[in-house]
Amino acid sequence: MPTLFLFGASEGGLFDFDATLPLMAVQVVLLTFILNALFFKPVGKVVEEREDYVNTSRAEAKKKIAEVERLETELKDQLKEARLEAQKVILEAEQDSDTLYKEALALATSEANASREKARREIDSQRDEALNQLKSEADNLGDLIIERLLAKT
């Protein structure tokens, strides 16, 4: 029947120091070196490599985003310019066609006026001529009638 050995026991007890202590210390130091070689170094390498990879990837992605944004603004500017230019071209074309139309209209109107004027003048002259002719014929007829009447009597 074992008894409880406690403080100051000569054999056993809870506070029984012996060669276990230095041996355990050596064992733990050895374990430190073994774990350093088997665990801390390789795992650290992998983790740090991954961290580097993530960081560089992230930096690269940021650079790419900046590039994309730059290109986007550039393209937007270009688009805006092109739009403005197109508007200008449209405006010019509209103005051109407007002036052309007006010119053509003016030309046509003046031509029409001229030909109308000419026609009127012709009509006038022909009417005058006809009137004169008619007048002379009436005169002749009147003369003839008077002659005939005078000759009978």
Binding site: A19, T20, Q27
Partner: protein, 241 residues
């Protein structure tokens, strides 16, 4: 007897009994080494399996190992500081892993099923030799860390901020290993004793929550020991301005 009132069931519970191995003129506690070798073997097996095929996209055990590595790095970095934590991370990590594996191994593995001629198997950290060995290693480490980093200027620490602190700082060098070793030893041994006593008194249900509490304590003690060790080393290498 007489230190606890329960005499009859306690006959089974062997406190302070050891399985002695004789090596030359020295005697060692066999049960401590048997369990510690088994647990270190399990730890190394886990490490070897986990690091066998490491990839950038971690799988399986590698995840666990990386989590542990990250945890230990954070612990070492916050306590020791950015400059020298790399040198001490393996030591702090080994302390944490060894104590954690010992504590949990002692609590989870049903060692009592294995009969020994004398003493019984249990957590290696429930033996005062183990905890004192670990605590003395910590003391040596922080002295070495301070001296190797700052040379003799390390001793400025003893008169910092005023020389009045000198006796207290000297006393601290003794109380640090003492408190480290006794805290760990006391907690683990007490946990084992409480569980054992409860199992003998009420063999059903009641010991289970206490066992869970024991697992919790075990993990916390490993963390406390490693954190304090790192803190002492950090204190020794810290530059005073």
């Amino acid at each position: 007897m007489g230190f606890l009132p329960f005499v009859f069931p306690f006959a089974e519970l062997e406190v302070g009994q050891h399985l002695y191995w004789q090596i030359g003129n020295f005697r060692i506690h066999g049960q401590v080494f048997m369990t510690s070798w088994l647990l270190i073997g399990a730890l190394l097996a886990l490490v070897v399996i986990g690091t066998k095929k490491m990839e950038r996209d971690p799988k399986g055990v590698q995840n666990l190992l990386e989590f542990l590595w990250d945890y230990i790095r954070d612990l070492a970095r916050t306590q020791i500081g950015e400059k020298v934590y790399r040198d001490w991370m393996p030591f702090i990590g080994t302390l944490f892993l060894f104590i954690f594996v010992s504590n949990w191994g002692g609590a989870l593995v049903p060692w009592k099923l294995i009969e020994l001629p004398s003493g019984e198997l249990g957590a290696p950290t429930a033996d005062i030799n183990t905890t004192v060995a670990l605590a003395l290693l910590v003391s040596l480490s922080y002295f070495y860390a301070g001296l190797s980093n700052k040379g003799l200027r390390y001793f400025e620490y003893y008169v910092h901020p005023t020389p009045i602190m000198l006796p207290f700082k000297i006393v601290e060098d003794f109380t640090k290993p003492l408190s480290l070793s006794f805290r760990l030893f006391g907690n683990i041994l007490a946990d084992e004793l409480v569980v054992a006593v409860l199992v003998f008194l009420v063999p059903l249900v009641l010991p289970v929550p206490v066992m869970f509490l024991g697992l919790f304590t075990s993990a916390i003690q490993a963390l406390i020991f490693a954190t304090l060790a790192a803190y002492y080393i950090g204190e020794a290498v810290e530059e005073h301005h």
